[in-house]
Amino acid sequence: MPEDPTATDATPTGPGERAGGRDAPDPRGAALLDALVARLGDGIIESAFACGTPVVRVRREAWRRAAEVAKHDLACDYLSFISGIDWQPAPRPAGDDSGDTSAPVQPTEMTFGAAGGAGRFQVFAHVSSTARHHGLTLKVDVDEDEMRVPSWVPVYAGADWHERECWEMFGVVFDGHPSLRRLYLPAEFEGHPLRKDFPLLAREVKPWPGLVDVEGMPGEATEATEATEATEVSPG
């Protein structure tokens, strides 16, 4: 049977729950965070550390301002990326045993990562400083009914392609983007592929043949099954 990770996980290991562990505040990051709080004030909803990197969730109204502060006041002149997250788990229409059983089983409730969240979609970005060598992850919640976020193109020129990608992959509209058009996908493509409810059709039509590869030799079938967490390997 596919295991439910939430059930087997005895010790909670959520972000920020281990003092001095993986997600402990890093002194340089903390100073960066203080500087950001001093300038954005109410614009910040929540902040946390994820593996040493400060993660800050800001209000939608403060999204553009956050970029300006990061670039001009915190010397974060370098844009790594802008992208989106769909926190809703992918639907499994008829229970865990249906469809593609070889894909890893994810929790079925919607939970949020570092710095929390509200609603299904988030846009997140990472900026860093080429001179001072620090970095910062910024997140903003996207209202599912509206799907609009201010564009960063006026601040970081490189936001152009990242936002075009995020728009076609998640359906988030960036207000103020000069030309929001498709980047990767053909013009007639329908849907937003990186949303969790967009099925990976290849897997739906034909289950992943990976299990066949590790099917053991006659007599060894039990061990191979255990090693790959296969649900049931038919003896062939």
Binding site: T13, R22, S83, Q106
Partner: protein
């Protein structure tokens, strides 16, 4: 062999304005749209460039990408952590080993395990070897773009030595899939270290040859100096990284300046920069970096620690809930993964930040106002891999 930094006097911004002014002021002769690609040989793959021309000058350039989009960010959500390395091998296919390292590192950070020192050193060795294999090809190919055939043959000849080393250690020339969470699949084979030393001496000699043939060459300089200048601030705002940004005078290398990873903190190496930001500077910086990499490989061979190559790792890998951003200095620039885990055997979401995507996103700005033949040298000097743009 010259080691002094050549200097170019023009302010890049002044030159840019000059180009703009000339495009706009000249008599309107009617624009012509030229399609470069998707099969143009100078684009190294399936990049299509729609260029609007006024005479010989580019008025606007619009790169059309996505002919090779494979949807890796979606596919990672359907695979377990160890399976993901197979996918990310194919992002930048010239330096596959270097692609695996940051992802494995992210998983290790989330699981709070650390690979033993010997594994870290061998990872560093193979990363630097893939850097040499990737950039060495560029050093030859750049000559090809300005009409010099010989360097390309030299590059392919000597790169073979490095690929043979990678193949001997990992079993794969292009897609090693050699990293494991917590270490490596195997140790180095017998005789590999002596062979590696010999190859590095050949690479260092080869770099001298490239320098003799191209860097001082009048035609090469005429085609690359003052062409395709990227100002430092704009380059950073576009996310241009690696040698492309260092050639604009930005002294930033994640091997030295980022979060410490692999064996880099223990190595002695120099980060090369060039103030000009033109195609020539990008060539020059990469040439120096290849030499530096070869020297780093020799250092690594001297100091290779003994010990195990795998940490103690559970048989079924489940990564605890959390998220992690890692970035490393890859041959083409900054490679990053934002890995979000929900405690399952596979990632919940992986954002792949590939270097070429951002490096190429500056093209619409960079190509405005240049002549058609310069488009080719600028494309070549940015050095991108299509798989790294399209993912």
């Amino acid at each position: 062999m010259t080691t002094t930094t050549p200097h170019f006097e023009l302010d890049p911004r002044a030159l840019r304005h000059l180009a703009d002014a000339q495009v706009n002021v000249e008599l309107d002769t009617g624009d012509m749209v030229l399609n470069l690609g998707p099969q143009h040989p100078a684009t190294h793959g399936t990049l299509r460039l729609v260029v609007r021309l006024d005479g010989e000058r580019v008025v606007a350039a619009d790169p059309v990408i996505g002919y090779m989009h494979r949807g890796y960010e979606k596919l990672t959500e359907f695979r377990t952590y160890p399976q993901v390395t197979t996918l990310i091998n194919r992002i930048d296919w010239l330096s596959s080993f270097a692609n695996e390292v940051p992802f494995i590192w992210a998983a290790e950070l989330l699981m709070e395990i650390e690979a033993p020192p010997r594994a870290q050193w061998i990872r560093t060795l193979l990363t630097e070897l893939s850097r040499i294999a990737t950039i060495y090809l560029f050093l030859g190919e750049m000559g090809l773009q300005v009409g010099a055939l010989t360097p390309a043959f030299w590059a392919f000849r000597d790169r073979e030595l490095v690929l043979n080393l990678i193949e001997a250690a990992t079993g794969g020339r292009f897609h090693p899939n050699f990293n494991r969470i917590g270490g490596l699949k195997d140790d180095l084979p017998w005789g590999w270290i002596a062979e590696c030393r010999r190859a590095m001496r050949r690479i260092l000699d080869g770099c001298d040859d490239f320098e003799d043939v191209l860097v001082g060459n009048e035609i090469f300089e005429a085609r690359t100096r003052g062409v395709g200048i990227i100002p430092a601030e704009l380059g950073a705002a576009y996310g241009v990284s690696g040698a492309n940004l260092r050639a604009s005078g930005v002294d930033w290398d994640l091997r030295r300046d980022g979060r410490p990873y692999l064996a880099y903190p223990e190595l002695d190496f120099k980060v090369w920069t060039h103030p000009d930001g033109d195609s020539f500077a990008r060539y020059w910086v990469r040439l120096q970096e290849t030499r530096e990499s070869a020297r780093m490989v020799l250092q690594l061979l001297d100091g290779l620690p003994s010990g195990p190559i795998m940490a103690k790792v559970p048989r079924i890998i489940k990564v605890p809930e959390g998220e992690c951003w890692v970035e490393t200095e890859n041959p083409l620039g900054q490679m990053g993964y934002y890995v979000i885990s929900k405690g399952a055997t596979g990632p919940f979401r992986v954002k792949i930040r590939s270097a070429s995507f951002s490096n190429v996103s500056i093209l619409p700005w960079l190509l405005r106002g240049v002549y058609v033949p310069d488009v080719i040298t600028i494309l070549a000097s940015l050095y991108f891999i299509l798989g790294d743009i399209d993912r």
